[in-house]
Amino acid sequence: MRRNERTILKSEGGGQEYLTFTLGKEEYAMDILKVQEIRGYDSVTHIANSPNYMKGVINLRGVIVPIIDLRIKFNLEQVAYDEFTVVIIINILDRIIGMVVDGVSDVVTLPPEQIKPAPEFGSSTHADYITGIGTVNRQMLILVDIDHLIGSEEMQLVEMADVKLDLAA
């Protein structure tokens, strides 16, 4: 029933559905259509000489999937791996990638009028990937452009054409 209401809302108000997740104390939201599944954190196979937030790769039903820890990427202080640690498996840019977050909270619908432009964060590195700030029940949600974040050169997840040449040289 809720599902139906939401669908109607979406078609009438043009609102989009977001999956909200927590990183430290902050509440983030991403486009739910990019989410493939949510699973617990398993042991990973480490990849040498990769950035610290790149945890390694896992076997997801026969597919090798890289796992990145957004908490490390976003410079959070406390990074623990326990039975509550959650991995959001996302499907973007024709790739499947796992993101470690502190927890997954809810699915919300945000009509455009509830989204405000992101304020200037100054020099913070991840400000580029924030598309706006949403408010649900007076709680602030940071909207993340996940394609932009994962696809960015800085992330080193997607191979740039010249990286390969560099290796071959």
Binding site: S43, V44, T45, H46, I47, A48, N49, S50, G56, V57, I58, N59, G62, V63, I64, V65, P66, R95, I96, I97, Q156, L157, V158, E159, V163, K164, L165, L167, A168
Partner: protein, 685 residues
């Protein structure tokens, strides 16, 4: 009952492409002075099959070209005209024209009508009278030939009823040739029943309303009769029944004249030779194969990989169970293992294609290039039956084309130069494939002038590359692979190789292959491409370093040993060699290279694994050997990126991911990295 033909287009395109390839292959091999009759027939059949298909599927432009081809071919195979080299060239160009049209219909590519018309005109000029074929039998004659009684010795009489779909004519199908053909195989009585529908004013002449009823007395089988209809009718539209002997006079005769409707066809009589239609080649070799989409095969291979992993998991869990108590289970599992391996082999073989698949196309390329450059070139193919993964074969086509083109263009000298140099005027290019262990070697060699060391060095210097005269030949040849060497004007400049050699190298590397080049001044040059047999599976040795497991491809492992301390020599800080049978071999700490915490530090307490990296011997230090496995190679690039030192990854029996190491990459990685200081030995062992 309109049939949507578009669903069959793809099939038609594929088949036509195959027929064209077949035509070309034969034409290139044919000796104009003494053509083999069977070859001519085969070419004719290919052209004819394309024509039939094109007619059925409504591509009249293709029908026209194939028809002109066929007319001349027919004259030649009947011995009415002698084959000449010029004709062979024309036929080849005709094949090109059809390919172009085919591509036009399939991919919407531009078709050069001028070129096509030019070829048709040339063909027609030779065949003299292109519009009327000599052996034509007047169709009206045979149609109206009412013959009573099956009184000849022919064994059976059939009643054939053909109920065509109303769109028969708009599909460009003509019935006369079919009837002609039937008339030639026996005694034919033809009745056309036309059922008028509606007012004459609304009568649509383009719709076929006729039902043809035929009585045929022949010694052919019903299947052979059905074959005559293969280009015009679906199976369900034809009914063939055998009549009891003597029943022929039963009053089925009707006037055949006027039984056929000739109006409403959208292309004219000139386009089809009567009698040519509906005939079909007798070879049925293709009946034993079946066409399956690559996607389906790939899916099967993926699922096979999953099965192998599941089987390994099962085996691992069962190992903890008591051998005696669970004897049946263990026996069944060992059966499962064997069956899985057999199945895997069969599945993998489905992707394997003989390399002749691409080798064969070079005959044409060399033929054309040599002609245009005024050179005499013989292409030798060796080891064409070597099998290689289909995915690799396709990717290999471009680099090989590049190399062969280079050979003809720059490698081989002109006949005059060759004679001056004391060689035979005709140059030779050899394409050779062979399998060596888990790799396939493809060699492109020529007996031309070879590379010019001095000029390459000069060119490289001008391009700003660091060179010196002291460089070895191999180092000089390697310069060619640098991107700076790849534009056309530079090539004429150095008059050597270098057209896109960097591209060749890049493509081959992307396939997990390697390129090496050898050259002797005045004697020729040789490019060797070494490729993995398949991209999907590998025999590997599982090793443990710290808590990580790696797979080392078995074909790069020479031996493993536990070194004694006196065999180990520290060369410099952190650098170490191991002395094996009179040789000092550099030792690579895998644990250091991959920054693994907890790896064994002291080589005496670990295992040294000798590996072969492109002819170079190196020693890898690992903690433990875990065993030999056949692993399914999974790409890291699919979702992540290339990992330095790794050829890919695989999934182990416990479901974990392990990296597959690449010996050459490991060495490269190790050379690039200064041996970094380890603060303190983490595990003294």
């Amino acid at each position: 009952m309109d049939v949507d033909l578009s669903q069959f287009y793809q099939l038609f395109f594929e088949e036509s492409a195959e027929h064209l390839a077949e035509m070309e292959r034969i034409l290139l091999a044919i000796d104009p002075a003494d053509p083999d009759k069977e070859d001519l027939n085969a070419v004719f059949r290919s052209a004819h099959s394309i024509k039939g298909g094109a007619g059925t599927f409504g591509f009249p432009d293709m029908t026209v070209v194939t028809h002109t081809l066929e007319t001349l071919l027919d004259q030649i195979r009947r011995g009415e005209r002698a084959l000449t080299g010029e004709m062979v060239n024309l036929f080849l160009q005709g094949g090109d024209a059809i390919s172009m049209q085919l591509a036009g219909h399939r991919d919407g590519l531009q078709v050069d009508r001028q070129f096509i018309r030019g070829i048709c005109e040339k063909l027609e000029a030779i065949s003299g009278n292109p519009l009327v074929s000599d052996q034509e039998q007047s169709s009206d004659d045979s149609l109206s030939a009412e013959q009573n009684g099956g009184n000849t010795f022919s064994p059976s009489t059939y009643r054939i009823i053909f109920t065509p779909p109303p769109n028969l004519y708009t599909r460009m199908v003509r019935m006369e040739p079919v009837f002609d053909e039937l008339a030639t195989v026996g005694k034919l009585i033809l009745t056309g029943n036309i059922t008028p529908q509606g007012e004459f004013s609304v009568y649509d002449p383009t719709r076929c309303r006729a039902i043809w009823e035929m009585t045929l007395t022949t010694d052919r089988t019903p299947n052979e009769i059905a074959d005559v209809f293969m280009f015009v009718a679906d199976e369900e539209e034809i009914s063939i029944e055998q009549l009891p002997p003597g029943s022929l006079n039963g009053g089925n005769e009707a006037t055949a004249a006027g039984g056929t409707i000739k109006g409403g066809r959208s292309f004219d009589n000139n386009e089809i030779t009567p009698g040519g239609y509906g005939r079909r080649g007798s070879d049925t070799a293709e009946a034993s194969s079946i066409r399956v989409g690559v996607v389906k095969v790939d899916q099967l291979i993926n699922q096979m990989g999953e099965l192998v992993i599941t089987q390994a998991m099962l085996a691992q869990s069962a190992r903890q169970l008591d051998q005696v108590q669970f004897e049946n289970l263990h026996r069944a599992l060992s059966h499962l293992e064997r069956n899985t391996r057999d199945l895997q082999e069969s599945v993998m073989s489905m992707r394997m294609v003989p390399i002749s698949f691409i080798f064969s196309r070079f005959q044409r390329l060399v033929h054309d290039l040599a002609n245009s450059l005024g050179k005499v070139v013989e292409l030798k193919l060796v080891g064409e039956s070597t099998e290689l993964d289909k995915g690799l074969i396709e990717k290999l086509a471009d680099p090989l084309t590049h190399l062969v083109r280079n050979c003809v263009d720059h490698g081989l000298e002109s006949p005059e130069t060759r004679i001056t140099a004391g060689k035979s005027p005709g140059g030779a290019i050899t394409l050779k494939a062979s399998q060596q262990g888990g790799r396939v070697l493809v060699e492109v060699s020529d007996d031309g002038a070879g590379l010019n060391r001095v000029r390459i060095l000069a060119k490289a210097a001008r391009n700003g590359l660091t060179v010196s005269d002291a460089m070895s030949d191999e180092e000089v040849w390697r310069l060619i692979f640098s991107p700076g060497f790849s534009t056309a004007d530079q090539v004429t400049d150095i008059s050597g190789r270098g057209v896109g050699m960097d591209v060749v190298q890049k493509n081959v590397t992307a396939m997990g292959g390697r390129v090496t080049l050898a050259s002797t001044q005045g004697k020729g040059s040789r490019v060797l491409i070494s490729l993995p047999l398949t991209l999907a599976i590998l025999d590997g040795l599982a090793v443990r370093v710290g808590s990580e497991t790696f797979i080392v491809p078995l074909n790069s492992v020479i031996e493993s040993l536990q070194p004694l301390s006196e065999e180990l020599n520290e060369v410099s800080r952190g650098e170490c060699t191991v002395y094996v049978r009179g040789e000092y071999i550099p030792l690579i700490h895998l644990g250091d290279l991959f920054r693994i915490v907890g790896a064994v530090r002291r080589p005496e307490n670990a295992i040294v694994m000798l590996i072969d990296a492109e002819g170079e011997q190196l020693a890898l230090l690992v903690d433990e050997l875990l065993g030999q496995h056949q692993v399914v190679i999974k790409s890291l690039e699919t979702n992540y990126r290339k990992v330095a030192g790794a050829a890919g990854a695989t999934i182990l029996g416990d479901g974990r991911v392990a990296l597959i190491l690449d010996a050459v990459e490991i060495v490269r990685l190790w050379r690039k990295e200064p041996p970094h200081e380890q603060t303190s030995p983490k595990n003294g062992g």
